[in-house]
Subunit: 475 residues, 2 copies
């Protein structure tokens, strides 16, 4: 059964050959962008542009139809007007294609009878022709291990264990983009738009057994097989954390969803209750989604409820201590007092004013003194009351006070302690600079998660804790 | 009365001369950092380092005590250990100083009797000596028009009409920093720590009549004169929007606040109710504070409840439309349908697929075609149902598809239309680059507000609308 499912999805995420119908030399056309992106990403399979005029496109021989391609074709990308798609599907059936992905829109999402009829017709042809459909009205599959880019997006991110399925092509694109910047490493992503044939349930069935996927994220606006989806989610979430961002929560949003992917609104209260029962984490924004995926990717699989906050590295951090505590407490994290031993050890090395030897710990501006920082980290990490350490680093402020090499050395200290207890860095956005990006990048490459605010860090950690509490029996 | 108040605070924000007690040639000492920052910022008044050893510090003649300075001194910065401060105050009294600001901590915020006693003693000496105290345990005043930097922070932001008062030096520093990056322009900022003498009420009394201040923000953890503060807030907020971020909302946070500025906890429910009655906007994070200040700074003073969202500039934006609508609806903004006329005009210029001619408008990826963008903006801005336009620009994605000059030209179009109806840009953070910063900066200089997410834009706009609804009778 598992093997069968893996085989079934092989041509979706690892196609040996791709034809682009609607390929064109015109760089404004999406057909051209899809083809160029595949070439630039170094896609390893064979590529066939399809265009009625034939000739050469992007240096490759173009064929008038899919049928005319001399070799086998597994995956077909369609980017032509909706009224011509049925003919293409006849060609695909004749050719023995496995998967057809439609960038083309104008089907059931329009709410108009003609679009709905066309979409039904497409699915019928797929069933008869023995192939599957991704979409329509979507960007398609992203498979970095196979050097298969995300639609027209030319670059590939690193390969990892996070999968993402999305009814929105735009949101999927943005999570991939954020992943490249913040270090979320994907096993695969798919944007499936209207989900006329392969739908959320199908992708989830596959991801459940996919050995390369450990964490599953989703953006959904609605679903056709609610009961089946929830049963599957309940089973899947036992071993693979599932994080769902649901669009169309408000009445106005639900109306927009109806015209986006033709999704029917399900009451928000029902969604919330039902996802919770299934042990699925529900998030409310793209940012929270990214933060939570990153947290699961980087953290060991157990509760991190008792946090230490190390603040005031660059200067006094009293107000920061207060709002950090608020941010943690408001989502159910504890900021317990340090043990007596911790306090007396800290007293020996930190300046008296500023540092109040409480948790949150205010370093009183001496974070740039490497020996003190290292010893402070050692003492805090050793405290038996602490599960996890949050360092409020304020990279940008520090950058004004300490030398570049010191900043590097400070981060090296954090990276080292990361192996002893889970550790996250909060670095509020400052002026953009390549050096700052490089600093953040180095931390994230070392699996130290960097969040832009303590509120966001706390929420992501709380989401993760909720998951481990819920599934404790299964772990 | 108003004149008197302005005169009283003249030496706080426009001192003609400053002495730094604790100035030292050692760059690790804050006394040194304060002095260097004043020099670097080009502070226009006279500067006097004070150090028992005399000699020269940072190229200026140093005096053993404040008393030894031959000329008048208005403002004294104290950065020496707490046990020596009373002697300094005797010197200040003898010298006729107007304001003494204590970076020095270790007073009532420690909760220890000795610290509390010292602080009471300081206030007594100030009353007898006829001068005022800022702090202790604070960074002090920032007055960009007077080229007076924020404590040790060497750079000055632009001068504007937003004032900020803060019990936390760190939070005040960060809002100034964010202001420099995102274009919040301050009239003045003060961090007053324990507020032993001059407290939130005093600063507010001044800001109420300060002709250079139009918008007032605050970070507070507690207050001594609650009734007086609220009366004052009620009066002030009628003409100057007030935005308060309250720290110590949770029990754990309140405990941290007690040890930060010695503030007593006031129940969060009471705060919420009472601020609301006073017509004061309550925000919950530094980010929301910055977003809301920026919105007030840039927007005309009336309701903007009906928003148009222009999305999908770089690619299809269906999911974006859904979550944008959710973000607006969940905070009470309307995303009304366009008029028939608007829809038929848009139909004439936008591609059929993708653009669904609804609000949110999905441009279907043609945002980079300048004529289409310009015409679309013109049509949307002209719709009589629309108060405000949100453009979901995705600068980073666009940057992949369109030429730099096109991107510049697109932003010029937004800047032009900004004059006709309030307009904001949402640009999700992408890879940091100096060019991208410059693009954002150009928009913010043209008073087009840039937010990093639609959720944050919507919340800030909703905060502003709440204010104008509340105070409608007074406008």
């Amino acid at each position: 059964m598992n093997r069968e499912k893996l085989r079934e999805f092989e041509p979706v995420f690892y196609p040996k050959s791709i034809a682009v119908v609607g390929a064109s030399p015109n760089p404004i056309k999406f057909g051209n962008r899809y083809l160029e992106a595949l070439i630039n990403a170094g896609y390893r399979g064979k590529l066939y542009p399809v265009n009625p005029s034939g000739g050469k496109i992007s240096g490759l021989k173009a064929y008038p139809t899919v049928r005319d391609i001399p070799d086998p074709v597994e995956y077909v990308i369609v980017s032509i007007p909706a009224q011509h798609v049925l003919d293409v599907l006849d060609d695909c059936a004749a050719k023995g294609v496995k998967v057809v992905q439609f960038f083309t829109a104008g089907f059931s999402e329009t709410g108009e009878e003609e679009g709905c009829r066309l979409e039904r017709e497409m699915v019928k042809k797929a069933k008869e022709g023995g192939f599957r459909i991704i979409g329509p009205n979507c960007i398609g599959a992203y498979s970095p291990a196979h050097q298969m880019p995300y639609g027209p997006m030319p670059m590939l991110g690193e390969v990892g264990t996070v999968a993402f399925i999305s009814q929105s092509g735009g949101h999927a694109g943005r999570i991939i983009e954020i992943g490249m910047r913040r270090g979320i490493r994907f096993s695969k992503v798919v944007s499936f738009g209207n989900g006329s044939d392969l739908d959320s349930v199908d992708y989830l069935e596959y991801l459940k057994v996919d050995p390369d996927t450990r964490i599953i994220g989703a953006y959904l606006e609605g679903m056709r097989q609610g009961r089946r989806f929830l049963q599957l989610a309940r089973e899947t979430s036992k071993t693979k954390p599932m994080i769902i961002w649901k669009g169309g929560n408000t009445d106005a949003g639900a109306a927009a969803a109806a015209s986006h992917t033709g999704s029917l609104a399900i009451s928000d209260t029902i969604w919330t209750a039902v996802l919770k029962q299934a042990g699925v984490i529900r998030v409310d924004s793209l940012e929270e989604l990214a933060d939570t995926l990153l947290t699961f990717q980087h953290f060991p699989p157990f509760l991190s409820e008792n946090v230490a906050i190390v603040a005031g590295l660059a200067g006094g951090g009293g107000g920061e201590s207060v709002s950090s505590t608020d941010a943690c407490a408001s989502v159910g994290l504890n900021v317990p007092p340090f043990t007596e031993e911790t306090r007396s050890r800290l007293k020996g090395i930190l300046p008296p004013a500023g540092s109040i030897l409480r948790n949150p710990l205010d370093m009183g501006g001496v974070g740039g003194v490497l020996e003190i920082l290292e010893e402070t980290m050692e003492i805090v990490v050793a405290d038996p009351r602490i599960d996890l350490v949050i360092v409020n680093e304020h990279l940008y402020q520090l950058d004004m006070w300490v030398a570049k090499e010191t900043l590097e050395a400070m981060n090296d200290i954090f990276i080292r302690f990361r192996g002893m207890k889970p550790l996250v860095i909060v670095a509020a956005p400052g002026l953009a600079s390549d050096e700052r990006t490089a600093l953040e990048r180095k931390l994230s490459d070392a699996q130290v998660t960097v969040y832009p605010s303590l509120d966001r860090a706390a929420k992501a950690i709380a989401n993760m804790n909720w998951y481990y509490r819920f599934h404790r029996g299964n772990l």
